[in-house]
Symmetry: C2
Subunit: 680 residues, 2 copies
């Protein structure tokens, strides 16, 4: 047995062109990386005579998961496994789950599993079904081909998560997402072992959860786009079947304009209100001074608490700016008479009363940073959108916390940046005891600029890199290893139904009105969207803005950034790979030059792409820059002034155009610097 | 006003690379072609101030359709239209529907519409809502770009279908298709004006419709894959909203093994039975001699008739081989005592009794060819899987009929072949009166070799060409025009949710384990699946066979066949285009040669593609053949024997390998013949 350290696992095959086969000494891409893994000799062959044995009586959830696993493994291996026989003992796969699971999955549940594959068989053991589900996902990632046969390599894995709370938040208020979008994202979450779906169900722009007590919430506050109670229960069951808890969020007292459209009496200002198209912070807030407001909330929280069995209930609490309260004389008078010094203090008053309601219905309260105020009891959980420091402060005072800030996907940051951000970094000032208060983290997908067509490509595959941060050991910080595994995992993610690759491709076909828009692909592959903030400034986006531009068809941190960076590094190194890396680059640069001619025509025809015209010029120009750099490189023979000139071109190209930015400019600059090194 | 005859419309722009812009004198691709169309001057601009006026009070179905239309038009135009204001009069689009629709859409409903677009506005008028829905689809197809602006070209269209019954049958028994698959296919049907969804809900391999009277039908006869009654009602409503009737089929007395698994007593042979994995004809059949069978059918048909409001009820009736009846002494005795001379006559007996049951529940009976027997009343409808002749025979005797045989998609024939097959060909022997008995036709998608991942690419875009056959005038037989419009319509079809392009691409990524499997794309783009029958012979396919091979990732009649044919024709003509056509061909041939090297490695690694290895050799070889032909072409300088040698290579490549065939061999042979013309 060879023992793999975490660092050695970075030796996993670097095959961006195809990840099809692995050498006998390599393991397929696992993500998140297991805490410990050691590789054995040989492998277990996948054949049509595959069997499953349950060493302990399986529950319905486990057998359903095993059936899904076999169907997926059949698809990836091409071997008929989906109807594998269940045998009393000594199956190809033998599963034992030692303890019964609670009916409702808890934050402290044991999620560990032990997976041992030898040439003779596969053993999967865990304490809980959730642990077994994680093990099945690992098993799926292990399946590969060797010598033209489908196999599972011999391996022993003992695995458990670093953090208990590994969430994905989806905002379905700013743009609605139908149930099937939620379901495919739950499947994707399970694949990378995320375990909390945080469902942001209400905001100013829409109330998305059917209430039978208050039917106007959706009848008047949702434009008809909402989940029925049956659908919400279905999502909870679907998530539970995949080892995922569902935490609903009803954001209050701010972000409640949609509530007030339906029930103006609970608001602080007088209506009538209408659902806003505008995003951003609205002044409207619930009236915290009237008992009728709490009566309403008691009924609503009670109704929703019955639909969502999880122990936690998210009350939002963010971005309540106090304007509506300050402008209402009755509320001002209430504050004076109750000795409430400002609107922050009034929100503390509101939170204290809300906390009692949430607790009455058997739930722990979670809220965003703003709910973290002295005086609230220690069983609330703070979700930090402000960041590391805010979270540490809460943890130092004994509050449990979840980190969200560095995992905001609409910032359009790289997978690398998200991956390296740690809920408890190595240099944390927290004591080991305080560190335990950090439950984990949450990926946050806000929905101002996404819709069902684009959401998957905004979440995935970047969320897989974050999932690894939440699960794998702190020492796992090798970015090259992460990217090397991210692309094959990205392909796995589409087999469970995600459209993060096919969706953007479809949109490019639609933009180009061509079944094979090769040149537009060339351009799109090296562009990514600007951040939420830049887009918001650059283009007025509200709820009615069509999300159908080039910026919507390109994806954040596409493979081109990493590929170019690797190629440039290889091209500049004196290794054997330098020659072929330079040829790869040359072809790439040439393809940019070649694509530009067609693209000029294409883009001029379409009002949806007209603003991208400068990008086409730049692509050709930057391609020329690259070609010149490669020519100059061997002897560093670039003429005087060339480097400065090219740098200027690159700097110009770094500006936002058509709400996009190029992915490769840093690498190209490196190449230019190297090629122009001899000059001065 | 220029008046376009049907033939002149074949001048529609031939732009396979991109269909983005049209010249002022061209119209965007319409499919099916309207019966009459005349083009005006100028166009109506699409802007964010678009409004809709209803000249007659719209019903819920119409307003929902208009909203969907605006959302789709917003997506294709990039102009914010989805929330267009409804104004009392003089809208950008003014719609009038003169008559009320019946609650249930009928086979004789008026589906005509009048659409007039001028620079001042758009008028849509029809007798029924269904007519208006068709007009809205035409309007969507008309939207395009001119001079960088989104517009609708000025046009006057008076349109109506040639046939009343334009169906798509989907078999959900052999492989189950979830509701969302059905829904997206209904959207696609509406786009090309198909109006009957024939739902083949039961067969030997599965009973897919929940019965509350006979719950074991799905509990034991469906492997858990079935539609609830709520889901079936949802599908009926979804179809109705799109102008589509739903005709359920419960195939009997044969093809009922799944029924007998659940209720063995209704069978002719003794059980126990189990759901078969094997396809093909099974001997089992209902027992037509016992009254209890008819009592069962009465209850079942009654229950289903209440779910499906359509006037027609399909009872299948095909491929009952009589073996089960002949082997049951009681049935043989019954035949003797009732003077029933053979099993065909026994089926007539069964059908007569069944007909009464179907009629009792208010439905007309439809059945496959086999139900066409003397003595049955004239209000039954014959669906012909046997073909033209069988249909004509029935029509000549006064029976109404629907043609299905030439539209069997699993034959993997070209769109051209399907398009040219006519339910009432120009040389028909039927009198005009008899011709009226031919209600129309149905595209048939049998499901032995498809699943939810592949179904769309098997149906579409070929079904769009057939939809044109059913809708447009008989004189519309220009194959080049049809293909020229088929590809842009194919792109429209994916905007309503079809995965016919993205699905195969995803599968190729999965096969190659690469995000950009360019070389595999090159191979796949010139391959298509062999027919159902060839596949059945070449590979034992049953219900458990994974459908995840190269054959499943390639599509029938991909663009390469038509593109190659056109390029070769141009290259061989003495026109100005010959030079560029030869260059296009040269690049294509070279890409085959180049791809082969990578593909050899890729294919050898994967057991799912191993059988395609010969195809890679052939691709390189045929690429060389093409390159040599192009070189020899100008002076026809190919050496002696070359033509014979290449012809042999082409013939060898025509054989089925890996369940696939090449799309371009006829065109390549043509090129070879031309290049080798001088040689003896």
């Amino acid at each position: 047995m060879k023992h793999f350290s975490l660092l050695a696992s970075t030796a996993l095959a670097l095959m961006l062109t195809s990840h099809l086969a692995i050498a006998a000494t390599e393991l397929p891409a696992l993500m998140p990386l297991p805490s410990t893994i050691s590789q054995g000799d040989g492998s277990f062959p996948l054949t049509a005579s595959f069997t499953v044995a349950y060493a302990t009586p399986p529950d319905e959830r486990l057998t359903a998961a095993v059936n899904r696993t076999l169907t997926r493994m059949q698809y990836s291996s091409g071997v008929a496994l989906a109807h594998a026989a269940v045998v009393p003992s000594a199956g190809s796969l033998t599963i034992s789950v030692s303890g019964p699971d609670a009916a409702v999955q808890g934050v402290d549940d044991d999620e560990s599993y032990h997976l041992a594959v030898t040439a003779q068989g596969i053993q999967l053991a865990s304490t809980t079904v959730v642990g077994a589900l994680h093990g099945l996902e690992t098993l799926l990632q292990l399946a590969t081909f060797r010598d033209g046969h489908a196999i599972i390599p011999a391996v022993t894995i003992d695995d458990q998560p670093r953090f208990r709370w590994r969430g994905l938040m989806i905002d379905v208020a700013r743009h609605f997402e139908p149930v099937e979008v939620i379901k495919r994202n739950l499947d994707a979450m399970a694949l990378v072992k995320l375990n909390v779906f945080h469902w942001h169900l209400s905001d100013d722009q829409g109330f998305r959860a059917e209430s039978k007590r208050f039917p106007k919430l959706t009848a008047e506050g949702s434009h008809g786009e909402f989940y029925t109670q049956e659908e919400m229960r279905e999502v909870v069951a679907y998530a539970h079947a995949r080892g995922i808890r569902v935490v609903p969020e009803f954001d209050m007292p701010g972000h409640t304009l949609s509530w007030q459209v339906a029930y103006p009496d609970i608001g602080s200002t007088s209506g009538p209100f209408s659902l806003p198209d505008r995003f951003g912070i609205h002044d409207e807030a619930l009236d915290p001074t009237r008992e009728s407001t709490y009566k309403f909330l008691d009924a609503l929280v009670g109704e929703m608490a019955a639909i969502f069995p999880d122990a936690y209930f998210h009350i939002g609490g963010d971005e309540s700016n106090g304007n509506a309260w300050r402008s209402n004389p009755k509320i001002v008078a209430f504050m004076k008479s109750h000795d409430i010094k400002d609107t922050d203090a009034l929100q503390v008053y509101f939170n204290s009363k809300l906390l009692k309601i949430v607790a009455k219905h058997g739930k722990h309260m979670i809220g965003w940073d703003e709910v973290f105020t002295p005086g609230l009891p220690k069983d609330i959980v703070i979700e930090s959108w402000r960041g590391q420091e805010s979270l540490s402060k809460a943890a130092a005072q004994g509050y449990q916390g979840i980190l969200a800030a560095p995992y905001y996907l609409d910032g359009m940051a790289t997978a690398e940046k998200h991956f390296l951000a740690d809920p408890v970094p190595a240099d944390t000032q927290l004591t080991p005891e305080q560190q335990k208060s950090v439950l984990g983290g949450e990926v946050a997908m806000w929905a101002e600029q996404i819709n069902p067509q684009t959401i998957d490509s905004r979440i995935w595959p970047r969320a897989a890199a974050i999932a690894e941060r939440f699960w794998s050991p702190q020492s796992d910080r090798d970015v090259e290893s992460m990217y090397t595994r991210l692309w094959p995992v990205s392909l796995q993610l589409e087999t469970v139904g995600l459209t993060h690759i096919s969706g953007p491709q479809k949109m490019l076909r639609n933009l180009a009105q061509s079944q094979q828009p090769a040149d537009l692909d060339t351009l799109a592959s090296v562009l990514e969207p600007v951040s939420f903030h830049e887009r918001y400034q650059g283009q007025h986006t509200d709820a009615r803005t069509p999300l159908d531009r080039l910026v919507d068809a390109v994806v954040p941190d596409p493979p081109s950034r990493f590929e170019m960076s690797r190629s440039v590094n290889e091209a500049l190194a004196d290794g054997a790979a330098a020659g072929s890396a330079r040829e790869v680059l040359r072809q790439r640069f040439q393809s940019w030059v070649d694509a530009a001619a067609t693209l000029n025509t294409l883009i001029s025809l379409s009002p949806r792409m007209a603003d991208a015209a400068p990008r086409v010029q730049q692509l050709a120009q930057l391609g020329q820059t690259g070609l010149q750099a490669l020519k100059a490189l061997p002897g560093k023979t670039a003429p005087a002034g060339w480097r400065e000139q090219q740098t200027q071109i690159i700097n110009e190209a770094a500006k936002s155009v058509a709400l996009t930015r190029f992915t490769f400019l840093l690498s190209l600059q490196k190449l230019v610097d190297a090629a122009g090194g001899a000059i001065q």
